[in-house]
């Protein structure tokens, strides 16, 4: 699972400068959790159109490009706008979504996914398994050329890159974990065979095989000299001048705070696919392309208003305005990142008194039930979000449907308000400490109202609104109040969200569990805590991995999973269910196993689930290609302007 982050991310999309500050925290985790692979424009899609949901009537819903049409005219410029600049565009070291897009203009990867969730081979001729995921065969196209002097891109380059960079100890690259335990072998000039550590019937969906093409000859001197610093600072890797015919555009210049500029690549290899997709015949269709960085939100919005740019991500409170504006086209892209309320079940959580009610399932359910998801969606996300009941967005093919789920925080059809109070009463019966209701107020053993500390990202306007909203809802429905604390994302991540991995053992339901591979984000049992106390936090949203639900094992495979900062102990057989998912031989088997997992997570609410936001993208209406899909942009080389 690569960390090339594809989504502009729910926060990254509506990003303003202050929120961008917050990207330090939010963005980084998103980056890590980002398991989408590819870059924005080679983003992969999901077949289920029904998941797509345009909350506002009147949103433009452009049709996808019909790739069987004849090529359009080549004309003008495609001018996209982003909010934050790139750390690096060195393809080996990039970990950012924005920079991924910038690299993707100049370099393709192995494959992508179309709107029907089918693999579309790009640099690969094909990627397939004939033994239920035991081994995967990768075949390369024969028309791929680097710039001089590097010659043809072959299996040798690919295998060398993987073995000598990702699988080497000398070069700390971003994709190393994807390749840990994977055996890769060159079996022909244009063929390689990979053997993942466990059989995996949807290995391409993990995005592990996706690598940018890098010439072996470029890497060799650094590998021989073990010079990782030199590799980071290599000029060719930073100006992408080796790209040959491997991407739709050639990078002309990267102005560090200003963005990137491209010219059309006349020799783009994808043109040879004209038989299959006639519209790729003359691709790409812009003379020049540009990604401009505008940090100030109001300036960014003004740029689309005045027609200076062709694409700008919008914050939620501007969506409606631009949907009604006929001079812009708004496209709502669903995202896999959720909005959650994290509750600390470790020993340093629940600072309001003795005990820790967060550990009681009913209490977490009560929290979920006490917050009106629809008011959140209307009031804070301005309608550009969907309710979040279990660990999968509705557009995912693995989403089990709402029939078997409890709709927490849904005043109409689910559990909300009074019922939340009942759930708290149930939870109180299960603990020894003396908490009780005095009228509408939950009081602790010291006779004071229960007040909890909630942390939110100081740089996020949305989170600032959200914590006030949670406070009002919780006070109204279950009689507890929140003390709101703004905090910098990095500080939170360092001092509250992670700790030195200590390991240890704990007895859960009479069973001894040992933490044998503790990580900073799951440093051990609940007794192992970060430096600072905290009760609740909205700082991080997490990826729900809608393409490959198995990836969610990092969060939920037992108390000992690799990412468990909140100290959640599943009260169902999570390990068993996840093992079933691993053993699945077909997609249907996998779907059934996944449904069981998601039904349990809905009951358990390990994180209090609130919503899934949409990315709101404003486009110049002349641009043909953008569609309101998760995989918006996979056919980017065929995008053009209709003037």
């Amino acid at each position: 699972m690569p960390r090339r982050i594809s989504s502009k991310g729910n926060h990254a999309s509506g990003i303003n400068r202050r929120e961008w500050l917050g990207m330090l925290g939010v963005g980084s985790t998103m980056a890590l959790a980002g398991c989408l692979g590819g870059d924005d424009d080679d983003d992969d899609g999901d077949g289920d159109d029904d998941g797509e949901d345009a909350p506002e009537a009147g949103a433009d819903e452009p049709d996808p490009l019909d790739l069987s049409q004849d090529p359009p005219e080549v004309s003008g410029e495609y001018h996209a706008t982003q909010a934050s600049s790139f750390d690096t565009i060195n393809p080996i070291y990039n970990t950012e979504a924005g920079a991924g897009t910038a690299i993707g203009y100049a370099l393709d990867q192995g494959y992508t996914f179309d709107f029907d969730n089918e693999v579309v081979p790009l640099l690969f001729e094909d990627i397939y398994t004939e033994d239920e995921g035991e081994t995967w065969v990768i075949e390369f196209r024969d028309n791929l050329e680097f710039s001089d002097p590097y010659g043809q891109y072959t299996a040798e380059d690919y295998v060398y890159y993987v073995q000598e960079i990702h699988q080497s100890d000398t070069f700390p690259s971003a994709n190393s974990p994807d390749w840990a335990g994977v055996e890769i072998e060159q079996t022909g000039e244009l063929e390689a065979v990979a053997t993942p550590p466990n059989p995996n019937i949807i290995w391409p969906e993990t995005f592990a095989p996706l690598e940018y093409p890098i010439p072996k000859e470029l890497l060799e001197p650094y590998v021989d000299a073990e010079d990782s610093e030199g590799l980071q600072q290599d000029e060719e890797l930073l100006d992408l001048s080796f790209n040959g015919n491997l991407g739709p555009y050639n990078l002309e210049e990267w102005i560090r705070d200003g963005g990137t500029q491209y010219s059309r690549n006349d020799e783009y290899y994808l043109r040879d696919l004209a038989d299959e997709y006639p519209m790729f015949g003359e691709a790409p269709y812009f003379e020049t392309a540009q990604i401009e960085i505008i940090e100030e939100e109001s300036s960014r919005i003004a740029a689309i208003e005045t027609g200076e740019t062709d694409n700008v991500p919008l914050p939620p409170d501007r969506g409606e305005q631009f949907i009604e504006d006929e001079d812009t086209m708004v496209v709502l892209e669903p995202t896999p990142f959720n909005t959650i309320l994290s509750v600390n079940m470790r020993d340093n959580g629940w600072t309001a008194g003795p005990g820790n009610l967060f550990r009681v399932k009913e209490f977490r359910q009560a929290l979920a039930a006490a917050i009106d998801k629809f008011e959140y969606i209307e009031g804070i996300a301005n309608g550009f979000a969907d309710p979040h009941y279990t660990w999968q967005p509705e557009f995912s093919e693995w989403f089990p449907g709402t029939d078997d789920l409890t709709l927490w925080g849904n005043p109409e059809e689910g559990v909300y308000g009074e019922e939340a109070r009942d759930l708290v009463e149930e939870a109180l019966d299960q603990i020894d400490e003396d908490y009780s209701y005095d009228g509408d107020v939950l009081v602790g053993p010291d006779d004071n109202q229960v007040e909890l500390e909630i942390y939110y990202n100081a740089a996020s306007d949305t989170q600032e609104l959200a914590v006030d909203f949670y406070n009002n809802q919780l006070e109204q429905n279950i009689g507890i109040t929140l003390d709101t604390n703004a905090i910098d994302g990095t500080t939170f991540s360092e001092n509250y969200w992670s700790a030195d991995p200590e390991g240890g053992t704990d007895t859960i339901d009479g069973e001894e569990v040992e933490w044998d591979a503790p990580t900073p984000n799951n440093p051990g049992p609940r007794s192992v805590t970060p430096d600072e106390e905290w009760d609740m936090a909205t700082i991080f949203g997490l990826n729900t991995y809608p393409r490959n639900p198995l990836t969610n094992d990092v969060f939920f495979e037992g108390p000992n999973s690799s990412y468990n900062p909140v100290g959640y102990y599943p009260e169902f057989d999570a390990e068993g269910i996840i093992q079933n998912m691993r053993n699945a031989g077909t997609r249907d088997e996998l779907r059934d196993a996944a449904a069981e997992l998601f039904a349990n997570l809905n009951e358990e609410q390990p994180y209090i689930m609130i919503s899934f936001g949409d990315d709101i993208e404003a486009y110049n209406p002349a641009v043909r290609g953008p569609v309101p899909e998760f995989s918006n942009g996979w056919d980017f080389p065929a995008w053009h302007k209709d003037e």
Binding site: R18, D317, E324, G379, N382, L465, D468, A486, I487, T491
Partner: protein
Amino acid sequence: MATQKPTKFDQVDWDNLTGSGRFKISINMKLLLVTGVPVLLLGLYDHFLVGDREATFVRLGEDLGLSSQFEALGLDFNPTSVDILFVFTIFLFLWYLVLPLYQNMRMTKYYWKEFKRNRPAVISLIWLTIIFVGGVLGPFFVAMPEQDLFAAYQPPVFGSIDQVHVNQCVGEISDGRCQGTWEYPLGTTRGGQDVLAMVIHGMTVTMQIAFITTMIVAAIGITFGTVSAYAGGWVDEIMMRFVDIVLSFPTLLFFLLILYIYGAGLGMFILVFGLFGWGATARYVRSKALSVSEEEFVKATKISGAGTYRIVRRHVVPNTASSIITQLTLIIPGFLLAEAQLAFLGIGDTAVPTWGQAISSGRNAIDFAPWIVLVPGMALFLTILAFNFLGDAILDALNPEAEAESEK
């Protein structure tokens, strides 16, 4: 001046002269002790004995066994350290700036006569008085602005906004535009907070920054500047080199660095501003004091055998007062500005309702809901302007020489 007739006109009996001032505690000092010390004690009490989550006055009531009386009086405040320091500074201001004006009624009347002729300055004084009173008393009458998601982006009374931007309109809708109401006379923000309430609570913070920081800066700066100027020699050299270092810090960069890394509560803001902000004052005071000490009358006093303390206290400080006051009035808006700038950059405690935070929170909506930026922005602008006019008028009023000449 001397009560005793000196034998020679150029000899002064300094012991007799200074004796009266040195050992008697002035009324100002007494008042400060009576009022300020309890406040400081309360601060220490709050810091060391009262828990983080307890309200200071509730606890005090318990400790004194007066809980019921306190409750009856509605004394349940939980002042922060900044609040307590603010109250102390106000006392200092009253006893050492306002009271002396009363004590020297004749001069005050004269100053006032001079001051009054400068109309912008009078208006400024009124404005600052409003801010001051609003800042001190406002929070007792106006609640902290509350979130109301369905009252977001309400326009000010008599204003209107395109309906597309509001979830629900509190007022009437006409021609697709939501009209303002008296419920929110200055409109609301993205979170539905009342802008008027935000501005009033912002006054408190503004005054806290202005008073406390200025006190810190003045205390350090004046002491440093006069001592350095008068001492001369290597003491002056070392002191000024130290000021050099302080002044050479790229301040905003350091504010950013420190506040970003170590958190940005209001107290931290004030402390950092104070500790980095006195260099210019010290240097300015010194250069003025240097000029004054070159004057003939100071030399004359020195030759007559007056002590250092006396010369500094009686001649150097009073003769540089006008410059110092001008300098301080110039410096206050600098701090307000710095706070607003940092808030704009996203540094600062969003829970503290400063004007800078309000401007920052509204700037993304500036093109359709400009009041969120304009109202606190104008308040900030007018306050800074008022401090400037005031400083200017004080300078003119205290500088009879320039005045007398210009009348000719």
